[in-house]
């Protein structure tokens, strides 16, 4: 895995996404440096998930440009973008329910993406060790042979993050990792993400202000598809526009 | 322990499932192979009823050669491969001496190899396209020359000059129309006055076709020769009447509409349309009346008899007569005895052909009456000899040799 030391690993320029006349996203510029962890906050319907969709190629922007690692990926297919090293954790945990925890991890290993490569052979000892180490780190080692559907909500979140970690993705899009977790689980999740910082570029979408504070990273606030404010959490949360956006909609951040 | 007990359990279960039923010695089994469920049930159940009634009657009179008959009724469920499977089962597992059944051509084609392979006998009661002669089948219903040609001749006599040959897209209509076209051309009807139209099985929307017929019928002298099959008839006749066509302007001569089908149709708009058959329920003889009352008292007052029902019924008697003449249930002996045998059927005396497996029959043309019965408007003088292969399709003769027969 190459680790280019370069600012603006991800750049989004003039991107709009329009659904049935409704402008879900309208971002003139949004950039993240290599190795950075960026938190995106915003009220419901602010376009946070759409932003992830656009970056990961799930949604094609109506106008504008998405550049990852100096490559214009605006019109790339989602699998191509993924091959570039963009991994995603969905809002609701999305793992393969009928496979075991270990098998989930194994499928996330890099390489072997073509059909015929999957017929023969298995993971190397080194890969196996990496998986086991990660599972150890996320307290899933005891459940490695259980089906993913039997995991608790928090465990599923960790499994998904672990899968991102093992996949060798360089840019991780993490959508609400703390939703529905207990306090201890939240703490562990934050630690995991901070550990990734530096070796990976992360974009974390979150509602939970405690959690955001814990991450202590630069924050971007989206509202109605636009970037409203950008800076440290304190800067952003004292921005009158942001307060207006949250309170105006009758919803303050938790 | 695990493997042994598993195997034991499975073996006993399967042996119970597929094991052959035991047969008693003093009875003779006859197979009845008509669909009782599925799309063909509507037509075939009546044939099954008639066959079973004949078997019951024979039993009531002491059976055949001192043995009681046992009907083995199975349901091939309008499923063509299942016909073949059931035929195999009847012949090999139940060891039936003869089988009565099939309606559609494809079901007959499906079982034919089975009967030929095992040298068994099938009695087939439905008018069909001909072009077949298997020594393992006795065709108790009409061949094309006993139905199609007389009907077309009748329409020509009535002064019709334009013909719509309308059928469902399968082998009987295709072959029937081939015969009809050849016949009409021979009678000087130009190609331009003949329309040939086919619809898929189960077709329900006859708007376009009726509009086409209507255009042709303008100026008079047009008639429809219909080989539409089964339940497509209902929407066809309804559309025909509702678009304002009547039997006076453009009569429909049908080859697949009998009294039984009329039960499922709305009769008043059909009055005056025609059908060609070898038997009608309205044949006014005491034998026929006795047959009808027996059938109705067994199966219900609302039931009617029709050509295939009669053929399914007397098929059993043909077999019985041949068995008694041969003095044996042996297939080859029964076959030999059947040739040329004369017998009484509800519709009158009939006779099996000397060699081609088919039946000498009278031909009737009937006009639909308000009560769903047919008024006989024409009948052939005497019995008509059946053709296995149509002279119109084999103008130079040289028919293929019969298939099947005794095992070599």
């Amino acid at each position: 895995m190459s680790t280019p030391v370069r600012s603006d690993f991800l750049q989004i320029e003039g991107v709009t996404a329009v659904f049935d006349g409704f402008k879900a996203l309208d971002v003139s510029y949004f950039g993240v440096d290599w190795g950075d962890l960026r938190v995106v906050i915003g009220p419901n319907g602010a376009g946070k998930t759409t932003l992830c969709d656009v970056i990961s190629g799930k949604t094609k922007p109506t106008t504008g440009k998405v550049v990852i690692d100096e490559k214009d990926v605006t019109r790339w297919r989602d699998t191509e973008i993924s091959a570039l090293g963009v991994g995603r954790k969905f809002q609701t945990p999305s793992v393969f329910d009928s496979l075991t925890v270990y098998e989930n991890m194994e499928l996330a290993l890099p390489g072997r993406r073509r059909a015929w490569q999957n017929l023969f052979g298995r993971e190397t000892a080194e890969q196996r060790d990496r998986i086991l180490a990660l599972l150890e780190r996320t307290h899933l080692i005891g459940r490695k042979d259980h089906l993913a559907r039997d995991l608790s909500h928090g465990q599923r979140q960790w499994l998904e993050i672990s899968m991102l970690m093992v996949s060798g993705a360089r840019l991780l899009l993490v959508d609400e990792p703390a939703a529905g977790l207990t306090d201890t689980e939240t703490a562990l999740t934050a630690d995991l993400l901070l550990e990734l910082k530096g070796n990976h570029t992360l974009i974390v979408i979150e509602h939970d202000m405690e959690f955001v504070r814990r991450l202590g990273s630069r924050v971007t606030c989206l509202c109605q598809g636009r970037v409203l404010a950008d800076g440290t959490l304190d800067q952003v949360s004292s921005d009158p526009q942001v307060i207006e956006a949250y309170l105006g909609r009758g919803k303050a951040g938790r | 322990m695990s493997l042994k007990s598993t195997l034991l359990g499975v073996v006993t279960t399967v042996a119970a499932l597929v094991g052959a039923p035991l047969s008693a010695e003093d009875t003779v089994k006859l197979g009845v192979l008509h669909s009782l469920t599925g799309t063909m049930a509507i037509s075939e159940i009546s044939c099954k009823d008639a066959t079973v009634m004949a078997i019951d009657e024979i039993n009531a009179k002491g059976g055949v050669l001192g043995k009681k008959l046992e009907a083995v009724v199975v349901d091939p469920a309008s499923n063509w491969p299942l016909f073949a499977e059931k035929a195999k089962e009847l012949i090999l597992t139940h060891k039936v001496k003869a089988t009565f059944g099939c309606w559609t051509s494809v079901s007959r084609k499906s079982v034919l190899p089975v009967f030929e392979e095992n040298n068994a006998l099938l009695y087939y009661p439905v008018q069909y396209e001909g072009e077949e002669q298997s020594l393992n089948v006795f065709y108790t219903a009409a061949s094309p020359n006993q139905q199609l040609v007389p009907a077309a001749e009748y329409m020509l006599e009535q002064g019709y000059k334009k013909f719509v040959l309308l059928g469902t897209d399968y082998v009987f209509p295709r072959t029937a129309n081939k015969v009809l076209k050849a016949f009409l051309k021979a009678k000087g009807i130009p190609d331009s006055a003949i329309i040939e139209e086919y619809t898929p099985f189960g077709h329900k929307d006859y708007q376009t076709i009726v509009a086409k017929i209507k255009t042709l019928a303008q100026g008079g002298g047009a008639c429809v020769l219909s080989t539409i099959n089964g339940d497509s008839n209902v929407p066809f006749y309804k559309e025909f009447a509702n678009q304002g066509l009547t039997s006076g302007e453009c009569p429909i001569m049908a080859f697949s509409v009998s009294e039984d089908e009329l039960r499922a149709m709305e009769v008043p708009p059909l009055v005056g349309h025609l059908a060609a058959w070898n038997y009608f329920m309205s044949i006014d003889t005491s034998e026929n009346k006795a047959f009808i009352s027996a059938f109705q008292s067994k199966y219900g007052k609302d039931r009617v008899t029709a050509d295939p029902i009669e053929a399914a019924y007397y098929g059993v008697y043909v077999w019985k007569a041949a068995v008694e003449k041969a003095g044996s249930f042996d297939v080859d002996k029964v076959r030999a005895a059947t040739y040329g045998i004369e017998f009484d059927a509800p519709g009158g005396k009939k006779k099996m052909d000397e060699k081609n497996q088919h039946t000498y029959k009278p031909v009737y043309i009937g006009e639909i009456k308000k009560d769903g019965q047919f008024k006989i408007v024409w009948q052939s003088k005497g019995l008509v000899k059946p053709d296995s292969y149509s002279a119109y399709l084999w103008p130079n003769g040289g028919f293929p040799a019969p298939t099947g027969g005794p095992k070599k």
């Binding site: 659904f19 049935d20 409704f22 998930t49 | 469920t37 599925g38 799309t39 049930a41 509507i42 159940i45 006599e157 009535q158 002064g159 897209d169 139209e197 086919y198 619809t199 898929p200 189960g202 077709h203 329900k204 929307d205 708007q207 376009t208 076709i209 509009a211 086409k212 255009t215 303008q218 100026g219 008079g220 002298g221 339940d231 008839n233 209902v234 929407p235 309804k238 559309e239 009447a241 509702n242 678009q243 304002g244 009547t246 006076g248 302007e249 039984d260 089908e261 039960r263 499922a264 149709m265 709305e266 009769v267 008043p268 708009p269 006014d284 003889t285 219900g300 006989i376 408007v377």
Partner: protein, 561 residues
Amino acid sequence: MGTPTTAPESTSASTRTAASGGRAFGDRMPSPLSAFVRRLLIIALAVIAHLPALDLTGLASDQRPQRLAAIAAIGASREPAAAAFLEAYRLGNAFRLGERIVLVVDAADPATPLDPLSRAPLGAPVPRSQLVELEVSRPEIRAITGALTLLQLTNPDRAVRLPAVVKAGDVGGDTNRAALVQVLAGESDQSVAKAARESLALIELSLGTEAASRAAAATLLGEACSGRALGPLRTRAAEDPDPLVKTAATAAIADIERYQSGVRAAQTAFAGISAGSILIIMALGLAITFGLMGVINMAHGEMLMIGAYATLVVQWVFAYLPAPLQPYYFILGLGAGFLAAAAVGWLLELTIIRHLYGRPLETLLATWGISYLLVQTVRAAFGDNQAVVAPSWLTGGWEPVQDLVLPWNRLFIIAVTITAIALVWWVLNRTRLGLVLRATVQSRRTAASLGVNTRRIDGLTFALGSGIAGAGGCALTLIGGLKPDMGQEFIIDSFLVVAAGGVGNLWGVVCAGLGLGILNKVLEPWTQAVFAKVIVLVGIILFLQARPQGLFPPKGRLSDG
């Protein structure tokens, strides 16, 4: 029948009536033709006045020409009872007994001879050996048919008279011409008179000796847009020695063809709409149970079947009611179809489908099993071969313009479909049930937390969908037959319509149904029915490639399941 002197007036009187009736035909009738009609009438009446009395003995002659002449004489006799005699004669029931012609209608051996016209018994039964069957072979049958037409021309029943008038024109000949002139003179029925004038013009076209009258006949036929004149007109346009007639015939052909192509286009459009309405009524119930609720109900076709059989039961019950009420059984049948299918649907939901929500494929399997049960239950209860008889007010067709017949049954189904769509729309969008229902579909938990009895709503919704299917099944008996496994024929089309329209969208179903119906009917004339079906199916497959979620896909974020 008027006397020779009054006849011309009555002819023009009926022409006037026709004109004032606003019909195109007879308007601006060219004077040469009316003069010619008048002249013909005089000749014809003169001929008829000299006819000998009805004498049947010629039929017994051993000379064919004499027999044929005798048949023709019967035809010309205008004797109403003669028609029945000719029918009996054609069937071989006429015999010679000594010098007399008698009818024998029963098969008994000493047979009772009947008077040929009055059918009164003529004395004691006689042995068959004394009866000599009159010969009827092809030439006689043909002559009988011609004579029957002549006799039917004066039949008091309009339904018999009208086809005879048309037939007389199609067959042509002097005798028919004379008879038609006479019919026209005494005719009070507009449509019969119109047909008679058309028939006369047709005969004149081929028999007329003067070019002017032939040309006039051609023009008249053209103005009448008479489809049946096309054949004879083409012959004239190609073969007539007179250029005047040729021109008139060519112009008439152009007129008729223009008119006919218009009629054909209208007919195709109607056929398409009708086919579409049938698809919609088949699929509408499924749009609710499958589209809204997500239940893959393989027994949906059986709901249609239940509705159809409920109609049959209502018809049986009505048979016990006074005759004037009977034709209206169908209205009640629609309701009964709805209720019966709704009840079965409700029971089904309660006992089986309820336990399978969220497991669509298990639902498929279970409802497939249920469809077996329902089909066989109905087969056991009703047997095969039953018919729903369309009420008299739904038979025949409405002819808004000449030659364009819109069958009442199809118009009725279109009306039922529109009503059903309106009803479903109203229930879904304008009632509390609809509101609660939509809420339940979107979020069961939220709806339940708001105090909605979601289980009851599920049951009601499923019953509604099934009921609509039942009413549809009732309506479908008007065009198709009735059999226990009829549902199997509808289920595939229904699913296709709902899928092509976009699951969960009422308008999608309407548009898809109409689109498919019209596409089918537009294709059919040039591809034949068999190919049209294949093309439409392949079309749907390609369409779904382009729009994988149908015409109106569910929108926005919710779309990704």
